[in-house]
Symmetry: C2
Subunit: 271 residues, 2 copies
């Protein structure tokens, strides 16, 4: 999928919502545990109930790897289900990978070819040759951690390097990498004013924004400072939507939560 | 496994060699491709031929994920084979993971519980709460990227923060994290003089050292500056050993290469 197609989908659905499919067997409704693949059944119900309200789904690979081969099978079934039923949806493998060049190529193959995700998240610490192998894939997108939404973000990401925070240096440096037009960035919603600074460096890049909702960030604040000409934002919510209820009506309740956010987004897009 | 037990193994085997099991189906001997699980058969042959010369094996997860579920099965068979046949060997899942707290817990569960590795590599960019969930596991070890051996290491890791390179700040900061005694660090062999500086910060921590051999680092130089009282070094070699030959005698040739390095290590340990 191209970024132009993603922007078109946002305008069509009046939504730039991404739902994080972070399935924890301890948190899903009990009746699903009796099925053969509870993780997939959970995801399928969430997808069926919300696909018209979102432009993206984002399974975090940790929640699948924790269940070994069975978990990897659930991940494969989930991505295949989305790609078959809703090919217009932008899929994100939230994997935060990154390694030396030939090894990053193997990760890129895993997520872009074997699983056929539209994008994958990567970590920047190992620099250019750890990210460029991902960027080499046409119409695939590499979402690099810039400023994350957790407390530990302030351990290193905001440290000062010659008068500039590390996360800004990371973003600026990455603009010079080969095929950098395939880069997007993770920017947490916890401090909306950061978006002003970031937009000075990358006016149009898409930003994947965790931290709205459960983690306390404000949607309207993020949009005020973060929206670009092509919208340029994907707002992720995981727990607030998928665990809205642990009863049999979980999918319906998830839809209600997603609808609330989509309606807020519609107002923002129409203004 | 405790670090004391690891040091004992090093003295017993007169080796601190780690072999990286980074299996690429395009590089292994053709006759293995006819077997049901070529990756596992390759690893099994390498392990059978080298286990008395090494203290550690390190599969890089990228090379398994690239083959999807089948690859994950090969990884599981490989770690089970090592744990059953050679429980004295220190196993490293080279996964370079890291995410917000509850997500890192899932990764820790995947590698420490489900697959039962002794250790896992992690990336530091997301800070304290992305690493501490790994450190919470008793007698398990978390090997954090500090200074890597690739060219991109100089993009961010060596940037200057108030007169100190980022990688040093990363190491120093991590010493204050909960259960930091379970930390080890990845330090590339490409510039041996860095080890002097690093040993001032962490005199006794184990360092996992890639970059000797194929990537050009010198074993004797690394040892000169990097050895600690408890040895404190695991020297990794992957391609130089496992791809010594692509013929039917590949395991025998791998043993020859491993033996050369082990003999160099023996001389160093006895001096």
């Amino acid at each position: 999928m191209t970024t132009q197609q993603l922007t078109q989908q946002i305008h069509k659905k009046k939504s730039f919502l991404c739902i994080g499919l972070d399935v924890d067997l301890n948190k899903i409704p009990k009746h699903l545990l009796e099925t053969e693949d509870p993780i997939f059944e959970f995801n399928k119900a969430i997808i069926d109930a919300t696909h018209d309200l979102v432009v993206s789904y984002k399974p975090n690979t940790a929640f699948y790897e924790a269940y070994g081969i069975k978990g990897w099978q659930s991940l494969e079934k989930t991505i295949n289900y989305i790609n078959e039923k809703h090919p217009e949806i932008f899929t994100i493998a939230d994997a935060k990978r990154g390694d030396i060049g030939n090894t990053s190529s193997m990760y890129a193959k895993a997520f872009f070819e074997d699983l056929n995700f539209d994008s994958v998240t990567v970590a920047p610490y190992m620099g250019k040759d750890s990210v460029e192998p991902f960027l080499a894939f046409e119409n695939k997108h590499t979402i690099m951690l810039a400023l994350t939404s957790n407390e530990g973000a302030f351990d290193f990401q905001t440290l000062n390097i010659d008068g500039k925070e590390l996360y800004k240096t990371v973003i600026e440096t990455s603009k010079n990498w080969k095929n950098s037009e395939n880069l997007m960035y993770v920017v947490g919603a916890t401090k909306a004013e950061y978006f002003t600074e970031i937009r000075k460096i990358i006016p149009n890049s898409f930003l994947l924004v965790p931290g709205v909702g459960a983690q306390g960030g404000s949607l309207s604040e993020v949009c005020k400072y973060g929206l670009s000409e092509n919208i340029g934002l994907l707002i992720n919510s995981s727990r607030g939507i998928i665990y809205a209820s642990a009863e049999e009506n979980f999918a319906e309740k998830a839809r209600e939560e997603a609808l609330k956010i989509q309606q807020e987004m519609q107002v923002i897009l129409e203004n």
